[in-house]
């Protein structure tokens, strides 16, 4: 009951100065709205990166060649030429819990078709590539094991290549030339968009890796092996098994390969987005502090301005504690109300940004809670000193105050 009364008193006091209450809360509103918007943008960016990582495929494990050293200078990851299709075959034969696997050779080439030419990625892959990368065909079909065995001159193409080279017709069944060799187009893949690294995933021609090695690039090594584990919980064991097998196959030579899981990739890729989110939240946090100082300032002014009111209250029987609680509640109400409105504006603002700029935004529930609790906390902190000052006033001095 005591608290209810104090609450009533505080509410009345706020209502008496609606305009000032609003302006005071404005600091909080802006601060919290900024926090919510900034974090939403940061989270949106993170979610986008995560989606891109997920688009690599599911339960994915990649094997990359290790570093090579020649004459004392060491190349980076992938510089070694030791990863071979036999490694891929061995993995497929020996490692359990694998759902799909595809070797991959990356290369760039000029292609020619339909009287047009285009420089694009010409990659050699296995028939499981589309499955491993979770990348279905839009039309036509993927080449088969038979095509790989027979070094067939067949290919499937990405959406970008299709648009560039066959702007007005169906590419399936047509022929395109790589290094003057004709490749029959078996299918067109669904659009995949941009990779984490910003390159156009759809700007690609996929041919059997065997054809690539023997007919196009004449390489004996491959650029990577993509493996799909059957279940998420098997990723770790598959990774270990692959490492063991490849080490064994190297017969005591220094391991020259790197096995990465998708999760490791994701962690690396989202690190930047996380840093950005932190930075944005930090900036917004500063505006929250400014909002808090605003409240403290107004509360201090208000204590001085309302000295007579405090005097009357004390004279007619309020305890110091009653006055303290009243001013504290006022500050908390102001700040958490500001916080709530700020959350609303923040959510609205992020939605607007996403609607008009096309930015991906994800409004984080946790931050909504943090903002509201945080703003109430700011209210306590910034309200305490003014409230304490008010409670310490002497009733006679306060009544006499002009």
């Amino acid at each position: 009951m005591r608290f209810t009364n104090t609450l009533r008193v505080a509410l009345r006091a706020l209502r008496r100065n609606t305009m000032r209450s609003m302006l005071t809360a404005l600091g909080m509103i802006i601060g919290v709205a900024a926090v919510i918007t900034m974090v939403s943008i940061g989270n949106g960016a993170k979610a986008q990166v995560e989606a891109q990582v997920a688009s690599l495929g599911q339960n994915l494990i990649t094997v990359m060649p290790g570093s090579s050293s020649s004459g004392g200078s060491r190349g980076g990851w992938g510089s070694s030429t030791s990863l071979t299709p036999e490694d891929a075959d061995a993995i497929l034969a020996d490692v359990k819990d694998i759902d799909g696997l595809s070797p991959e050779i990356r290369d760039r080439n000029q292609i020619l078709a339909n009287g047009l030419n285009w420089n694009t990625n010409v990659n050699g892959v296995g028939p499981d590539y589309g499955y491993v990368r979770n990348w279905p065909m839009a039309s036509g079909s993927m080449f088969t094991d038979q095509d790989v065995k027979s070094l067939a001159k067949v290919c499937v193409i990405g959406k970008t290549v299709a648009d560039q080279v066959f702007p007005n017709e169906d590419p399936v069944g047509q022929t395109l030339r790589i290094r003057n060799l004709p490749f029959r187009i078996l299918g067109v893949m669904t659009p995949k968009g941009f990779s984490i690294f910003g390159s156009d995933e759809d700007d690609v021609v996929l041919i059997p890796y065997t054809s690539h090695m023997k007919r196009v690039s004449r390489r004996t090594n491959i650029s990577m092996i993509r493996i799909q584990a059957d279940l998420p919980e098997n990723i770790a064991s598959v990774k270990l098994a692959v490492e063991d097998l490849l080490t064994q196959r190297r017969r005591g030579r220094e391991p020259d390969f790197a096995v990465r899981t998708q999760e490791e990739l994701a962690t690396a890729a989202t690190a930047t987005a996380k840093t950005m989110t932190g930075l944005l939240a930090g900036i917004a946090g500063v505006s929250l502090i400014v909002g808090g100082i605003g409240i403290m300032n107004i509360m201090l002014v208000s204590v001085t301005e309302r000295t007579r009111e405090i005097g009357i209250r004390l004279a007619i029987g309020a305890h110091g504690r009653d006055v303290l609680t009243q001013f504290l509640i006022e500050a908390i109400l102001l700040s958490s109300l500001g916080g709530l409105i700020g959350v609303g504006i923040g959510i609205g603002g992020s939605q607007l940004l996403s609607a008009y700029n096309g930015w991906p935004v994800v409004v984080p529930t946790m931050w909504i809670v943090i903002s509201v609790v945080g703003s109430a906390f700011v209210g306590i902190i910034s309200g305490f000193y003014p409230a304490y000052k008010a409670a310490q006033l002497d009733p006679i001095d306060a009544l006499r105050y002009e």
Partner: protein, 258 residues
């Protein structure tokens, strides 16, 4: 019945300035229930100082003060606040109403503190309304102070002073800001309350205001120099009628000339 107020040889010395000011120098005073006292004296004679001590807003430097048998000196800040809340009603000079707060809410204020805080919002409202009725302002309950005349504001302040059914109603210059007719109106409210048995102590500068009281005390340099019952007491109701009659007469005589 013992006196509500028993003061023995109290002194107040203000130490705050460069030289200590001996504002009250040994006042002894008994106030019985139902008394109606006017405290008079020149400016600086110590009236407000004495009232502040009577109102338990300030402590005496020396001497003893029993309010309703309770020794003030033994109470701490919060106990004093509770005592003020329960036993005393205040009517401050210059009304001291909360601005932008309705008359009713102003009157409710003392009930939000002290033992009455256990009451429900409805009870509080009802009691406040009743007190506004006593001072004749029930129809202005929703008005803000700035929508009320000086006399009406002072009556709201009196209602606020009454709402906790105090033993003593203390008023420091309640008519200080009012014209003479409004002063009589306020004194009428006081007389009515006093007739109902409420003890009233008020400070005033005006002799004719003091004549509405029952007992006059005159202070000079912090000592009581005169303490006498009022003879030939003015009655506000009668006075009001007389003034009204005079006004009507003035209009009657003025009218044909106009």
């Amino acid at each position: 019945m013992p006196p509500v107020v028993q003061i023995k040889d109290i002194h107040k010395i203000y130490e705050s300035g460069e030289v200590p000011v001996h504002a009250v120098r040994g006042v002894s005073l008994d106030i019985q229930r139902g008394e109606f006292i006017a405290l008079m004296g020149a400016s600086g004679s110590g009236k407000s100082t004495l009232m502040n001590m009577l109102g338990c807003l300030d402590r005496q430097t020396k001497g003893s003060y029993l309010l309703d048998g309770i020794d003030i000196d033994k109470l701490d800040r919060n106990e004093l606040a509770d005592l003020r809340n329960q036993k005393l009603g205040f009517v401050f000079q210059g009304f001291n109403l909360l601005a932008r707060t309705t008359a009713l809410e102003n009157v409710e204020l003392p009930m939000l503190y002290g033992r009455h805080r256990k009451a429900s919002a409805d009870e509080i409202r009802e009691r406040a309304m009743h007190c506004l009725e006593i001072v004749g302002l029930a129809n202005r309950a929703d008005h803000m102070p700035n929508q009320l005349s000086g006399g009406q504001q002072q009556r709201v302040a009196i209602a606020r002073g009454l709402v906790n059914q105090p033993q003593v109603l203390l008023a420091d210059e309640p008519t200080g800001n009012l014209d003479s007719k409004t002063s009589i109106e306020v004194m009428g409210v006081f007389q009515k309350l006093n007739d109902q048995g409420i003890t009233i102590v008020m400070v005033t500068h005006e002799l004719d205001v003091a004549r509405y009281c029952k007992r006059n005390l005159i202070l000079r340099d912090g000592v009581v120099v005169r303490d006498a019952p009022v003879e030939d007491r003015s009655i506000a109701a009668a006075e009001m009628q007389r003034i009204q009659a005079a006004e009507t007469a003035a209009k009657l005589t003025a009218n044909p000339a106009a």
